[in-house]
């Protein structure tokens, strides 16, 4: 594999890892606050649809992004009402949300656009276009760093950079701010937060609100940056892979970045069977690469390679009065 190919692979990795990363960080906020969220997939899908639909109708991708976030937030709110207010089962609520999104996006898309569950193709300002970073053209021909800067680092949509910036930001929020301290505490022992005079409900809603925004951006990225429109089921299991990445990352922001890059790389790799064959000398089945993230996660979960301990209060509603 030559340098240019490697760059191209890494470039694809970055593109494919972005939605995973945004969703993974979204899940991180939610689960760190003690709310399990297997509804990432559904929220991403709903956001993808709404962002594409609104971008198509208005021709303004930023409005689309807002609409996508809005859709995701609505589902987050349902999750919150079910699992925080009414102390329902978070897993079941997540399952319901995934189905709700899978069904509603198609039903609404079909009755709105009559294109078989698709939105119209987006163009121009209706989608996020790649941005060229300063000096990218200038240093393009400098050996090694030139191509790296031009090919790999420059030329992505704004959302890619946003996702990357979210990693240190998430770390900083979690470990350096009051909000982060409380957020982590509420996922470990909500009673401690409650008796310290901080609202458990408020914190948890805030957490799933952030989760909704981030995964909403992930969905919008799919439909308006990676693609130019929505198609049915376009999240294609990315929400679950993000969940796997979250476990893989042991609920930590920097690890989340590495896990998502790894899974993104696997996805990029499965698109280039020629490279795999070239590097390892025999043909690897595409399905195998596609499910490798899941297999790796199961192995991690099994605790054979470093145990992943979820936040202690995760998954349980905070019940004061029986």
């Amino acid at each position: 594999m030559d340098f240019a190919t490697l760059l191209q692979m890494l470039d694809a990795t970055l593109r494919l890892a972005t939605p995973l990363l945004l969703a993974c960080l979204a899940g991180l906020f939610s689960e760190r606050a003690g709310i399990f969220d297997i509804g990432l997939e559904g929220k991403m899908l709903a956001a993808a649809f709404m962002s594409a639909a609104i971008a198509a109708v208005t021709g303004d991708v930023w409005l689309g992004l807002l609409a996508g976030i809005g859709a995701s937030l609505v589902l987050s709110a349902i999750h919150g009402v079910a699992s925080i207010t009414f102390r329902g089962n978070q897993l079941i609520s997540g399952v319901a949300i995934n189905f709700l999104a899978a069904g509603l996006t198609v039903v609404v898309a079909q009755s709105w656009f009559r294109q078989g569950g698709r939105t119209p193709q987006l163009s121009g300002d209706g989608r996020f276009n790649p941005i060229t970073l300063p000096f990218a053209d200038a240093i393009r021909d400098v050996p090694v760093i030139g191509p790296i800067y031009f090919e790999l680092i420059s030329g992505h949509t704004i959302l890619v950079y946003l996702a990357l910036a979210m990693v240190p930001l998430t770390w900083w929020i979690l470990y350096r701010t009051r909000f982060g301290l409380r957020l982590r505490a509420v996922g470990e022992n909500p009673a401690a937060v409650d008796t310290a005079g901080v609202s458990v409900v408020g914190l948890r809603f805030a957490a799933i609100g952030i989760c909704g925004v981030l995964v909403g951006i992930a969905g919008a990225y799919l439909a308006t940056a990676l693609q130019a429109g929505f198609v049915k089921d376009m999240s294609a299991g990315r929400g679950y892979i993000a969940l796997a990445a979250l476990i893989f990352a042991k609920w930590r922001p920097w690890y989340a970045l590495y896990a998502c890059l790894l899974f993104g790389f696997l996805q990029a790799l499965s698109l280039r069977p020629d490279i795999i064959t070239g590097v390892i000398g025999f043909r690897v089945n595409g399905q195998f690469l596609d499910v490798l993230p899941y297999i790796l996660t199961v192995i991690i979960l099994a605790g054979f390679v470093g145990k992943a301990i979820p936040p202690r209060a995760g998954g349980q509603p905070y019940v004061k009065e029986r």
């Binding site: 190919t5 191209q8 294109q115 193709q121 693609q227 130019a228």
Partner: protein
């Protein structure tokens, strides 16, 4: 009775195969003022039920677009001997069934020639949908056409996947295209259903040429789609609808010779197709029609002289 059409999974607005079938039905409807029944299924399990319900409701003839209808049709056809069926892209051997298949390799050969002539890098590519013999037939014909013009050209061929989901994964289509571009391709032919939308989009975004499939897709990115490999599914549907209940059953091959396949030329790609190109392709088409030029059909022996998969 009214005729009926059953679309395949991508839905009638997939901008390619199903949409072509839909256009045929619409053409019949506007020309004759007739009405027809239609359904877009969402899953394989609905197929048999859909055929039965239409047959029972008295629709005749019933046209099915897509090879996946073959298995349920084989099962059902005998139950409704008075109904005529048409299946496109697959052969079902029953007295009341008309099977329409296309010589996709011939059409692909023609657009392959155009790709080779338009390419500046000498590398062109192909993105297929689901990895099945039918799609390899496209790829193989395309590669033959490319090599006929430029024996030194490189043809990169990728399939999107091995499940029906591969027909509807524009994200993957787009990534495959980018990978091919990085390998030097400057013309990409998409035979991938809904996935092709992503291929054409990315080609347009990256300023390379693309080739559409089935329906005329030139309009999707004016000036950036070199041409489209036309597979006249619309004609097949139109024919069947027009013949009505007295449909002529049996085996029906549509190729270059009877205008079943071809390439698209319209105002959107007029600037891209040079006179030389057009002349060469038309000559080849004439040869194929005359039988003097034989394009190898992948599905005849599951092998391709011009491409390895």
């Amino acid at each position: 009775a009214d005729p009926a059409i059953l679309f395949d999974l991508g839905g009638k607005f997939d901008k390619s195969f199903n949409e072509s079938a839909y256009n045929g039905a619409e053409r019949w409807a506007t020309e004759t003022g007739g009405t027809y029944a239609e359904v877009e299924i969402q899953s394989d399990a609905q197929r048999e039920q859909a055929i039965r319900r239409f047959a029972e409701s008295g629709a005749n003839p019933i046209v099915m677009a897509g090879f996946s209808w073959a298995t349920p049709l084989e099962k059902v056809a005998a139950d409704y001997p008075d109904t005529s069926f048409t299946i496109i892209d697959m052969v079902v051997d029953a007295p009341n069934v008309r099977s329409v298949v296309f010589n996709e390799h011939e059409g692909s050969y023609l657009v392959g020639m155009m790709a080779a002539m338009a390419s500046e890098t000498g590398t062109v590519s192909f993105v297929g949908g689901m990895d099945i013999p039918l799609i390899r037939k496209f790829a193989c014909g395309y590669a033959q056409g490319v090599l006929a013009v430029n024996p030194d050209a490189t043809v990169i061929a990728n399939m999107t996947g091995t499940t029906p989901a591969a027909w509807n994964d524009p994200v993957k289509g787009s990534e495959l295209t980018l990978a091919q571009i990085s390998q030097g391709s400057d013309v990409v032919f998409a035979a991938a259903g809904g996935t092709g939308v992503g291929v054409l989009q990315t080609a347009a975004d990256s300023d390379i040429l693309s080739i559409g499939v089935d329906a005329n897709q030139n309009y999707l990115h004016p000036g950036q789609v070199l041409t489209s490999m036309l597979k006249r599914v619309d004609n097949a549907v139109y024919d069947a609808f027009t013949q009505g209940e007295a449909l002529e059953t049996g085996f029906n091959v549509m190729g270059v010779a009877n205008d079943g396949v071809g390439y698209a030329l319209d105002e959107f790609n007029a600037d891209l197709v040079t006179a030389d190109m057009q002349a060469a392709v038309d000559a080849a088409a004439a040869d194929i029609a005359a039988g003097t030029l034989a394009v190898h059909d992948y599905s005849s022996d599951e092998s391709c002289p011009a491409l390895t998969f």
